[in-house]
């Protein structure tokens, strides 16, 4: 992808050895402009995973398996009073559409399914497969 104009620097101000820091301020976890979080790095995706919160059991398999750390989580307290990561969505800025998350999803009806890139998420959820009666 093209570098944004405001990031273009000259040879005398360039990152030494092309080493890119993740954080501007590591202690405050302030991301640097080089952090891939700030880039569109998923332009070439043709199929996307859609996440169905209603079916998810928060096993976090997708979070572990995702090669691009796309799964967004929230820290919640579960019924037994323990801290747990709740999957809340997918960062489509990072997702390349590899489909590994769908493969590892263990629910009887998958909580993650691949849809063509242009599909509206609500449409996809409406068309989600139902349990055979």
């Amino acid at each position: 992808m093209a570098t944004p104009k405001e990031m273009m620097t000259t040879w005398d101000k360039i990152q030494f050895g092309a080493v890119l820091p993740s954080f501007e301020n590591p202690e405050a976890k302030k991301r640097s402009k080089f952090h891939s979080y700030n880039y569109k790095v998923a332009d070439w995706r043709v199929e996307k995973p859609v996440f169905n919160r209603n079916l998810c059991i928060d096993c976090d398999f997708c979070w572990v398996a995702c090669p691009d750390s796309c799964f967004e989580v929230e820290e919640v307290v579960n019924k037994r009073g323990k801290k747990q990561a709740k999957i809340v969505g997918i960062n489509y800025n990072l997702c390349k559409g590899c489909g590994v998350c769908v493969d590892v999803c263990p629910t009887p009806i998958k909580s993650l399914l691949m849809f063509p890139e242009q599909t509206n998420d609500n449409e996809a959820l409406k068309n989600w497969p139902k349990k055979d009666k």
Partner: protein
């Protein structure tokens, strides 16, 4: 903590042993190497030092030279002082990663024992591997004897790791003629050597998990040019740092090194440019030529890259004819030394007559008589004030005279 190695003020070492001791004294964090003739004893001796408790760092046995340099790149990016050794085919296999190391600005030190490149296969000394790495963005220091192999290896660490440089450095010595020739070497004591080099300062280390960084980023047409220009600038500017560090080294060792070494060049009409062990042979030839009434002199670049073109031109300011002796098959051109020196002279408006000689390929003997013959031929150009000999000749080649114009 590593044991102290007892060293006498004078040791009898060959070039390989000298280089291995310099590596030991540098207290390297990681050495990853795949032994190859004639540099095998550097790796072997270093591993023995490790086994005997004289080294604290890691030694990584790898499956090829490509892996050796790759492991070095990884370890250096992780934030350690790193070194390796190789020769010839191993060097050739490393080449891809040499470019990575220099572009990533990793101050790796590589002790190279120069050996011919196949084919035909040959284990003996010439500068085929050195010339192969010429454009890899490394600094290449040249040693002519075991003492210099030791000294240049120590200096290599200090030059590479200088904050103004941060580039990988090779310390080169001729296969067998230096690497396997035992001579008296005056080493520094361990603490003095380490004090000279200094402790390693990591820059953007990968292992700093509190401040994660990306090494080896991809840069396309928008960025690559700027990065390469910056790297080239560091290499060009490093001549000043090299001179500075040579001056510092003189203070601790009493041995003076220069960007361009010379012998009896001050009043010379005829100059030879030679690099490596043949420099010392050429010194004797210069003496003989002077006995025969030819005012001969000798120059050598201590660093092949960066090439000190202005210093070289200055040394050759008053000569009438120059012969550049290249120990590498030039394959369709003049030798690299001829090109560099001719360029340096032209750029400075100097017009000494230039010729090129190819010598010593695959370890072919080059004696005082051979070099004396070159001086005599070059003297014809000096006397005529123009080129009357062939442009490119071959020294000690069997068969009818081979030359090019």
């Amino acid at each position: 903590m590593a044991q102290k190695y007892e060293l006498k003020s004078k040791e009898v070492w060959d070039g390989n042993t000298a280089a291995a001791h310099a590596l030991r004294q540098a207290q390297i964090d990681v050495v990853a190497a795949y032994p190859i003739t004639p540099s095998t004893p550097i790796v072997q001796t270093y591993a023995q030092f490790l086994a005997d408790g004289y080294v604290d760092g890691e030694f990584v046995k790898v499956e090829s030279e490509h892996s050796a340099m790759s492991a070095c790149v990884g370890a250096a990016a992780a934030g350690g002082r790193v070194a390796t050794a190789t020769s010839s085919q191993g060097y050739a296999l490393m080449v891809e990663v040499l470019y990575q190391a220099s572009g990533m600005r990793l101050p790796i030190v590589m002790t190279v024992v120069n050996r011919a490149l196949a084919s035909p296969l040959n284990i003996h000394g010439d500068h085929g591997d050195l010339y192969l790495g010429r454009d890899a963005g490394w600094i290449h220091l040249i040693a002519n004897n075991p003492q210099e192999a030791y000294d240049m290896t120590l200096c290599a660490f200090k030059i590479a790791e200088d904050s103004r440089v941060r580039l990988p450095v090779t310390s080169n010595q001729d296969g067998f003629l230096v690497s396997h020739t035992a001579q008296v070497v005056k080493p520094l004591q361990d603490e003095d050597a380490y004090k000279f080099i200094g402790s390693y300062k990591a820059l953007n280390p990968l292992l700093d998990t509190a401040n994660p960084v990306t090494h080896g980023a991809q840069t396309e047409e928008e960025w690559h040019f700027e990065h390469k220009a910056t790297q080239h600038k560091a290499l060009m500017d490093s001549v000043n740092v090299i001179e500075e560090i040579f001056a510092e080294f003189e203070k601790v060792s009493g041995r003076k090194y220069n960007l361009v070494e010379s012998y009896k060049i001050e009043d010379a009409d005829v100059a030879l440019v030679v690099m490596g062990s043949a420099y010392e042979t050429a010194m004797l030839a210069v003496d003989k030529a002077r006995e025969n009434g030819i005012k001969a002199g000798l120059v050598m670049t201590r660093s092949f890259r960066p090439f000190p073109h202005n210093e070289m031109a200055k040394k050759l300011a008053n000569v009438k004819a120059v012969a550049a002796l290249d120990r590498n098959a030039p394959m369709g051109a003049m030798g690299a030394l001829y090109n560099e020196v001719a360029g340096a002279l032209t750029a400075n408006g100097q017009s000494a007559v230039m010729t090129n000689y190819i010598y010593g390929l695959g370890g072919r003997d080059t004696t005082v008589e051979h070099i004396l013959e070159v001086i005599k031929e070059t003297n014809k150009n000096a006397e005529a004030g123009k080129r009357v000999t062939d442009l490119q000749g071959f020294v000690n080649l069997r068969g009818p005279k081979l030359s090019f114009n």
